[in-house]
Subunit: 208 residues, 2 copies
DNA sequence: CTGCGCTTGTGACATCGTGCACAAGTCGGT
DNA sequence: ACCGACTTGTGCACGATGTCACAAGCGCAG
């Protein structure tokens, strides 16, 4: 019972979350954990966790629970986080720079291999050891890199154009931070992180 | 049929999205739109839009569609975006600064009224016209402000502590950017924007 | 005033996601 | 070797979410 059908986003996102929690347990020196303990500690659902894992096989030991190291390792592999993924960051405003810094800072399986901006004053400058290219050169530069995923942190007005440039450049996935509804290309897996909408949701509940 | 039951997050987030799209139409000079046209233009579902709106009453004219200005205005009111909401930003790293800049930059109904950081070198400095306070003073400073919503952009290791300081200070809602699973306070509406998890989801689909 | 074309609002239905409860299975003690 | 305590993995039921199709309603033309 390995990957038969497409796994849902919800399940996948929870798996990332489980892995993160497991790392916390590792740091605390915990070696074994049951789904019940785990769920209580992190305010998650035990049965849902077991069901999420069940999509990919059997990970636990009945009567005992899960070995933290083992489960963490298997989730890491399963999510593809044991390999390096190359990123291109498009839009080096304050948000793009913050994301770039965050992603360069650590030992995570993401590596920035290209950066773009429209601002002529930024082009040519370096962010870390990486030269910033002009956004108009996306179709030329991307194929020279091994970038698979693009992080789109440009103003909403420029997002669609950049998105399309990226799709024709052979980018396989895009993580969009621009507060706009992208017309998606079917061959490119696209997700949006829209903090404005989340903020507005909170505002709603205060206004009632 | 005004607000009888709790509206789901999904519906609410789509309403924000509709409003955003309507503003685009306003800028383009469009005065009337049917749900079909709207859905096709923005790649959304027409029937779902109608159902989302139906939670709050009747907004359209049968046979004609929706008046763009009218619907935008009613959604604005409905979502509470016709009032100013006061924000506190906790964590003035690169991400927090980027968010603060973004939120100060425009005419949106959010206003930053307090900023915090643990870094002694930042405390006392100004971001715009706002003094940065030390994070340890959250319980003292927040009640003096009218802050209702907190934006939490601190490292994961500090997030839980800051969150709890905020909850005891009378904050009503928290938008968390730290990549960690918060133990939530029931009286405080809390949402997380976790770009790391979204990135990992994209990575998964590339690895298969 | 009447009829026609169009669009909304909505009930019925299908699909998806989650909680519950228990059979299957494992470990340690005796 | 067996028993009992415990936990996983899973079938089932329920609730939430989205799609479809159509009746109700509106405006315009004649």
């Amino acid at each position: 019972m390995t990957e038969p059908a497409e796994i849902s986003s919800l399940t996948l996102n929870r798996l990332s979350l489980y892995l993160r929690c497991l790392r916390q347990l590792q740091d605390a020196g915990t070696t074994h954990v049951s789904s019940g303990q785990f769920a209580q500690h992190f305010e998650l659902s035990a049965s849902l966790m077991r069901k999420d894992l069940a999509h990919f096989g059997e990970f636990g030991i009945r009567g005992t629970g899960y070995r933290v190291d083992d489960l963490a390792a298997r989730l890491t592999t399963l999510l593809g986080l044991d390999r390096i993924h190359n990123l291109a960051v498009v839009g080096m405003g304050s948000l793009g720079s913050a994301l770039a810094r965050y992603l360069s800072f650590n030992d995570k399986p993401f590596r920035i291999v290209a950066a773009f901006d429209v601002d002529g004053r930024k082009v040519g400058h370096k962010i870390g050891h990486l030269v910033i290219h002009h956004s108009r050169d996306i179709p030329e530069v991307i194929p020279q890199t091994e970038a698979q995923i693009a992080v789109l942190s440009v103003p909403a007005s420029a997002a669609q154009q950049c998105y399309e440039d990226l799709t024709v450049s052979g980018i396989e996935a895009v993580l969009n931070f621009a507060p706009t509804q992208l017309k998606q290309h079917p061959a490119v897996r696209t997700k949006s992180v829209d903090f404005q909408i989340n903020l507005e949701e909170l505002a709603y509940f205060l206004s009632s």
